[in-house]
């Protein structure tokens, strides 16, 4: 049984409420009282339910609890002490989320004590001696215009028991963890340890994945800003490629397990000729290999732009000889540098001039602030997280599963269970194939004669 089925069939195992420790008996102080209906749910599986005939039999499709302010809340604002931390790599919008959490805690609930935990979970382990920032509206006033996180971040595991000790010692009853799947699993462990100790602590996650690859949480914040920012780099790659004979602009983008950023970037910038993602294997050599495809490309146009997700083609680099750095350390195998070297060597070998310009812009992209609709998502997620925490939910993340303006609460176990992937039969990937025409270069004989290759 998958964890998804487990959640559906045994909801009590994934109960988000800590009010088993007491009741929601405090009237909400929220001043714009359009409360969420108790029990309101958002349906995610209407199509499945319909196809399987469930609907006809009156069976409810799968759903998640709807997020929003509750009429009666669990935690008393008068003595609540909240903490916020950011964990893992940078992502546009972190400060926007922090600002949103602080403002809603303060302005809607009047909470006075909000700790900004330094450098992720490490800041909750006392031996690291990291004094928290005290957060209020003045501190976060303009942080949304800054990339990165004012709290600092870190990777790596910390001891759950030590963290819960700290929460207990500092009287923190609300903890917001902004992080990716590893960080969310740590949040789950904390939530469970709190329950075990009968501590009434709400642990609520705001899912952070610039790759947009978490399950059941819709679109993650920062993703759209990252996609938009790729344009600057891809235009540079195009200009560099066109600037020399048979120039190639090769851009490595984020995406270890899924190619969402890369695929979106290809469609948003219809000057990309090859889009290589983890979900779609490819080979270098032979009739249908990338190198031959590039040769074909150079017969019609003498430049090419290639996007490659960092997780694409991992099988190709597996067997490669180990490289060391100047100090003798073994270097990580990198698909971008690998392709750069292989393409350069291939065209040298066959006596065709080329020039590969390689771009690795991940740090530049992920460190900008969120903009526009993506910035709004940050605030809405923060809002959903605060209302959930105040109403005593825990061990959950917030999401906009259907990308509507209605947000849901999803058990962490489910959101972090497996990665979302590109559907190679979906409209998005088909559109990538349309905008790049890459299949024509990989496999020209499959194309209708009606399409004139010179048009490409």
């Amino acid at each position: 049984m998958s964890i998804y089925e487990d959640v559906l069939q045994n909801p009590e195992k994934f109960c988000l409420n800590i009010d088993t420790l007491g009741e929601c008996k405090i009237p909400s102080p929220v001043r714009n009282p359009v409360f969420v209906e108790e029990g309101a749910r958002i349906y995610i599986d209407y199509d499945v339910a319909r196809q399987k005939g469930h609907l006809a039999r009156g069976v409810e499709p799968a759903s998640f609890e709807k997020a929003g302010p509750h009429r009666m809340i669990f935690h008393d604002p008068a003595w609540s002490r909240a903490a916020i931390l950011t964990a893992g790599g940078l992502c546009p919008g972190l400060n926007h989320v922090i600002k949103g959490l602080v403002e809603i805690l303060t302005l809607d609930y009047g909470i006075k004590t909000i700790y900004g935990i330094r450098y992720g979970y490490r800041g909750l382990v006392s031996e690291h001696n990291l004094t928290p920032l005290m957060l209020d509206n003045d501190v976060v006033d303009t942080v949304h215009t800054l990339g990165g996180t004012i709290l600092g971040s870190s990777r790596g595991q910390q001891d759950t028991m030590k963290i819960v000790d700290t929460l207990e010692r500092m009287n923190i009853n609300i903890l917001f963890c902004i992080g990716g799947d590893g960080s969310l699993r740590a949040a789950r462990d904390i939530a469970e340890a709190c329950k075990d100790r009968r501590l009434a602590v709400s642990v609520v996650g705001v899912p952070k994945t610039i790759d947009n690859d978490l399950n059941f949480v819709g679109r993650s914040f920062g993703f759209e800003t990252a996609v938009a920012e790729t344009s600057r780099i891809i235009q540079a790659a195009h200009i560099e490629a066109k600037g020399t004979v048979n120039g190639i602009g090769l851009v490595k983008l984020m995406g270890r397990d899924s190619g969402f950023i890369t695929a979106y970037a290809a469609v948003a910038n219809p000057i990309v000729n090859f889009c290589l993602v983890p979900e779609q294997p490819f080979v270098l050599d032979g009739e249908h290999g990338l190198l031959t495809a590039l040769e074909r490309r150079f017969k019609s146009k003498n430049h090419a732009v290639i996007l490659v997700a960092e997780g694409a083609g991992q099988d190709l680099i597996e067997g490669e000889p180990v490289r060391c750095d100047a100090s003798g350390n073994i270097l990580k195998k990198d698909i971008g540098e690998f392709l750069r070297d292989k393409i350069t060597a291939h065209f040298k070998a066959i006596g065709v001039e080329t020039s590969v310009k390689y771009f690795d812009p991940s740090y530049t992209i992920r460190s900008i602030p969120a903009v526009g609709a993506d910035a709004i998502r940050c605030y809405m997620l923060a809002r959903a997280a605060v209302h959930a925490a105040m109403a005593g939910r825990t061990n959950c993340v917030v999401g906009d599963i259907n990308r509507s303006e209605s947000y849901t609460l999803v058990p962490i176990a489910l959101a972090a269970s497996e990665r979302q992937k590109l559907n190679l039969n979906g409209d998005l990937w088909r559109t990538v194939l349309d905008t790049t025409s890459q299949n024509f270069y990989f496999n020209p004989s499959s194309f209708s004669k009606r399409i004139d290759a010179r048009n490409l």
Copy 2:
């Protein structure tokens, strides 16, 4: 009976197919054959159907035809001649849509003749003598990086019969109209006139509304880019406001009938203090008026940023005396200039120093190119439009009703029937009230004592 109910109950009246004039009997030349299932539909009204008990009785919720490539198509690519026009005001993404249409017509269907009609419908009326551009992949190669429209645009009505004469004379069997509700109604008239003349012409609309206020088409292209671009202006307004004692940055944004851009901009830029939209009336004077609210604001912070949609507060300016320009022409009443003058006069009258800096950035915002996820939407809409047209659909627009990656075909009559509006009880508007705290200034006594006003 509303037009919406009419569509649902009498689908034959709103039939999108011109294949009443013949069958779809030509095999599609599309090279990535993940065809849409014939009869596939996207459901828009699941919640309604569920609440009304329809689902339990096996009644289908309301739905639209799913867009995508069809296995058998109506128009023979070998002799098809397509035309593209843009009508109405500028919007980010117009050239992106044009590029998408041209590339899919060319690369997927091998169509050789694509007219770029100049200056909207005017270019289809022969007496204006506007020679069309001939569009191909080279012409549109980099147009997506330019704002505006390479075709030019115009407003105002043209004679439908003259337009259809031109289509007939030029042998155009596929017409793409990129425009807002007025322009789409003109497209509907053309589609109907073609049917009357038994001309097998597909007229497909790509809905353009920077205000995001069309019905049943989800999010319109250009909207998200416009929202993101407001940040630059709102930051300038904030800096100007903070630069002087009691400085006010007043920004007028697009939105004649709906406040979507203004509301999104307020949440995306949580330095906005007042967000005024057409859907929410307000007054200037009295205890709960804007002027008193500004006075209250200046007691806690001595600057303010105000966003106002161009269609907000129209009742306030109705009775105002007429203003004339230097040549004696009557000036349009403008809520932005009106507020600037009223606020300035009020604070002068009560002897409080202030300085109102007014920003009217609409032309700057609407003339930039689309970026990121918004750019993708342009391409996906273009893709849906071409596949629909080739399969003989007409009198329809394309949309992404649920903001998923699945696109639908919507009868023009329905999309252009009435404007989408902000829901004042929805999460978006509630979040505007959270980020601005404006209700505190308009009506402080309604606030819980728990919230310390000084925090604002």
Copy 3:
């Protein structure tokens, strides 16, 4: 005798030293000791001196004192208290200058007390009750990334005696005034009043004029950033103009007395067709008027982009009837709105379709942070100002007269004496005429037949 000749012939009247009150006898604590030679001067008038035969007779050309760190300084860092204020309108780079002043005072001289005076000179008049900010390296850490001024600004005169009282009361011995010519004249009055009272106060100005129109100070900070930022607006104007039949994009730029920004913007954006500046009168009507010129333009291309400096064509609007706002207040006569109305009326009258899109971007442009070489200028000016003040100079401004990396000290009286203007016979204005071709439209018969008008 002009003030310039007065300065040259009677340098003692414009003495910048307050060390008449004592000697420079404190060794400089500056840690990178490349001290300026005592007596070093920068020559500004080599060409004049050469043409007049002065050089041949060994006569020195006119020169200013070279700025830089001095070996012996006047003010004892141990007890010095500095103050910084910003006055007048916003300009890119204000915060950059403030950061530079604070860092050099702190890191080079170890000064502990630096007041950030609020809202310009007003903050030095005690009755306004404006508590200064205390400035240190942490406060200014990232202010260079923000537009505007963290100190706030104001316009209008304050009482010099009250200001000097405050300086005396607060024990301020170093005052930096960042402002335009009016603000610098106020600084001069303060410097002179201090001398009269025998207060050893150094008053040093950093000249701020986004219009680049101060005398003898080379290029002012913020000017280049402003010019670069015009591109965004001018591109929008071009796209709007091309988007409709006979579209006109009309952009009003800063420049009350001189057309530098407008002329630079025209050359930097060679899509501008008309560049109207205060230095070059023009008429609307008649054979050589702007309206006829536009008619000619529409015969070759059906769009036009016009830049107009706010101070251009003031004679044209002088006689215009008074306009009032909604409250009955008289409206400022504005050349931008005037041209918009006149052009619209003219083409309506002669039955030619047109559409004028008007842009007034001054607030947006002036509120961005300085970038690149302009940001460097801010820091270099701040550096020159601090070293000058510590060495007991007063009543002077800093400048880079030859736009080299060598900075000079200029008597305020001279810098603020008259405005720098565009030279209509210089290379810059000639290049404006080249890039715009505007003289062809104003006066086509004067053109060689060799030039084919259709090329324009």
Copy 4:
């Protein structure tokens, strides 16, 4: 005798005129006749002449011919055929220069035939079969908004004789070469070969060096745009550095022989802590090495931003073991990657946590279009180049030696003779030391006790 002295003493050897082959006897058709005076010169060495007492003896300081339109020209516009090429790496402003050349050739002189030579000098060697673009005002209409070069570029030498054969065969009498020192030397060879063959061909260079390191040509185009663009990257590096404990943002910038871009970028972004340039050697290890300096930095602040010019520290990497890529090819030694590896290894060895984020943004920076004052420089240089060529000058480059608006003609031999370098005793480098405080970290004991280290 240096080449500079040679030029001064033997001007006839470096004669720029080809009118030894005939006279300037054609009246200029230029329509804005503010002609340059025949014989007008710009003086570059006033200070030298003054210090050496030359002036007192009436000896002229060194000077160059002033650029500008001449009353009588050499080449007859009616039969002139011009060619333009771009050679070497990309640089902001290339297309701006091309547009300027085309517009002035066309609009000022009425020249009809302008060849856009493809891929640098290679396009002038017939065996490469590269058909030139035909350039006119329409082709270059909006190219100034695009980075890169519409002509393409290439590196590497071509046979001068074959190039001159092509010029002769194509009847090209005016050749503009936009390139760096290698490319300019090729232009010099062509000019000399033309003279030898008694071909009346004007070869005029527009100096292109993003590093700003050419002699006697003032500031090169593209440099200021490149400096401004570094801000985006440096801010990202700062945010990444602050995002983790002891985070380091390491940015490699352009500058093989000179550190101008790196030094300017450090001052423009006063968040940089270390600025490493070719002109200033440094060591890694020991008391005054970079690694110890970083350790000191981490004692006061736990992040650091390092800029390194690509040509800095070449002695450090000389002895390093050779690295190979995946195909066994030897990798270029790169100071950026070298520092990344060394710093990482050092802190690992001493057990201090750190995280080095490395940025290599050169391709992204150099491929953007020129903006603002830099864009103006492009047009002014183009203008000077065309007027020089039409007046029969050859074997020269154009420049703005004093960074005034007056341009000069400089013999190619002189401009390309040696590289301009940072003056380590000049104001710019001193300001770098001020803004970075790096000497405090390298050598703290040299600092005055008055300066509190904690302030850094």
